[in-house]
């Protein structure tokens, strides 16, 4: 079944086209991320925003595509309101935020974990695009300054977030820790494997009975 765009299709594809262009330009300057994304070629993640209604499917690969219409079943999907997406995106560890938040995730959780890993390595080489415009010498200096600025921003943000998350995790115990979550994931995987084995066994017994 086609997931119909809720906006005027022309506006919908305009937004996605612009975002796709911006993403691919940025990725062009992060070769490590590009090669990691290439390994996920053809897999898809659908983001369903319920309020305001908006659907986008990201088809992964070296050049990710953003689609308004995607007729196959996506490998994974995320569903929630725009506010819930923004809350997850602003979190220090989006993976933890996804579990604790109200976003609903369906499908292949391993793909989501892989994707999260790829995006956390995103490291844009600012020097290359700037040098293309102003030349190598100035490009190197400006690139260096930008790298420093971003690193400082990242550091000060992460330091503040670390203190806040320590309070949430250790003092207030409002949210499970990473280790607890990993244990939880492991238990789920074990349970999934046991269910698969039991299902296979049950099918075998039923087949034997039928014969």
């Amino acid at each position: 079944m086609v997931e119909l765009p809720k906006l005027d299709p022309a506006l919908h594809v305009a937004l996605l086209g612009a975002a796709e262009e911006a993403i691919n330009r940025a990725l062009h300057y992060s070769p490590q991320t590009l090669s990691s994304l290439a390994e996920l070629e053809g897999q898809s993640v659908q983001a369903i925003v319920t309020e305001p209604p908006f659907v986008v499917t990201i088809v992964l690969g070296e050049t990710p595509e953003l689609r308004a219409v995607y007729e196959d079943k996506p490998n994974a999907s995320i569903e929630g309101t725009l506010r819930e997406y923004l809350a997850a995106a602003a979190a220090e560890d989006p993976a933890v935020a996804l579990i604790n938040g109200n976003l609903k995730i369906r499908g292949d959780s391993r793909l989501m974990q892989n994707l999260q890993g790829v995006l956390s390595q995103l490291d844009i080489d600012w020097e290359a695009p700037i040098a293309a415009v102003v030349g190598d010498v100035a490009g190197h200096q400006i690139g260096k300054a930008l790298r420093g600025l971003f690193a400082w921003g990242k550091h000060s943000r992460s330091s503040l977030e670390r203190q806040l998350s320590e309070f949430i995790l250790e003092e207030a115990r409002l949210s499970p820790s990473k280790l607890e979550l990993e244990d939880f994931y492991r238990d789920i995987r074990k349970l999934q494997q046991s269910i698969d084995r039991a299902e296979a066994k049950a099918k075998r017994i039923l087949r034997q009975r039928a014969n």
Binding site: P9, A10, L11, V13, R67, A68
Partner: protein, 250 residues
């Protein structure tokens, strides 16, 4: 067709045999500036309409696609990238000038495989039955003399389960938009045509032919009558353009 032996050429009523020649004249005249004019006339939005068409085509690697009235090759070029060398994309146009411009443009972009070209009439497509996974016609159907005949011909060359996509100007869904659009089409458009392509009459025809084209529901009905199923349409930019889609039954 309005009455036996007669059809529309814009607002004029002409003999059926005459229409193809008159339309050919229009497109011979505008072929070299066609892309520029499309960008100017639509403010570049025609690219978005086409992008949505490609998304809705459901085309994948290895598929075969026929792009009728493919003109300057916008859709065919994109389809070629998607289907890859193991697929097949035929760019067809009844008009030699448009086909030449399209072929040159695609060759200049280095696109060779899997493209091929055919000067063909949409009413009598020179392809075997059940040949294509997808047939598209973008801004072409309104120029065809006998649209029902053309739709049946498209159905014939599609594989069972294959889809037809018709992208065409249609009827705006909002009265205010409709009035603004009329004013633009009949006052601005021919002047733009005169300035850019040196031909106001062709663009006057363009505006008129859009008004004479069947509206969304009528075209959907025509597709159903031709034998397509699961027909639906998507209004874009307030209904100025509509994308119709229908499937060939299994």
């Amino acid at each position: 067709m309005s009455e036996q032996g007669k059809t529309h050429f814009g607002y004029q009523e002409v003999d059926v045999d005459e229409k193809a020649g008159l339309v050919a004249g229009v497109f011979h005249s505008v072929a070299s500036r066609y892309d520029l004019m499309n960008d100017l006339m639509s403010g570049g939005i025609h690219r978005l309409w086409k992008r949505f068409t490609i998304e809705l085509s459901g085309i994948r690697k290895g598929h075969s696609v026929l792009d009728i009235a493919g003109g300057t090759g916008d859709l065919a070029g994109k389809f070629a990238d998607i289907v890859g060398p193991e697929g097949r994309v035929v760019l067809a146009d009844i008009n030699e000038s448009m086909l030449n411009v399209g072929r040159d443009k695609l060759l200049d972009k280095g696109k060779v495989n899997p493209l091929s070209y055919a000067q063909a009439d949409a009413q009598y497509l020179p392809f075997a039955d059940n040949s294509f996974d997808c047939v598209t016609i973008a801004f072409g159907l309104r120029n065809v003399t006998d649209k029902d005949l053309a739709l049946r011909s498209m159905l014939r060359v599609l594989k069972p389960g294959g889809r037809l996509l018709v992208l065409e100007f249609s009827k705006p869904t909002n009265d205010l938009l409709s009035k603004a659009y009329d004013a633009y089409s009949f006052n601005v458009l021919p002047k733009l045509g005169q300035m850019i392509a040196g031909d106001s009459n062709s663009y006057q025809y363009l505006a008129e032919s859009i008004r004479m084209h069947p509206d969304q529901e009528t075209l959907k009905e025509m597709m159903l009558n031709a034998g397509f199923e699961q027909c639906e349409f998507f209004n874009m930019t307030g209904g100025i353009v509509a994308l119709h889609r229908g499937l060939k039954p299994w």
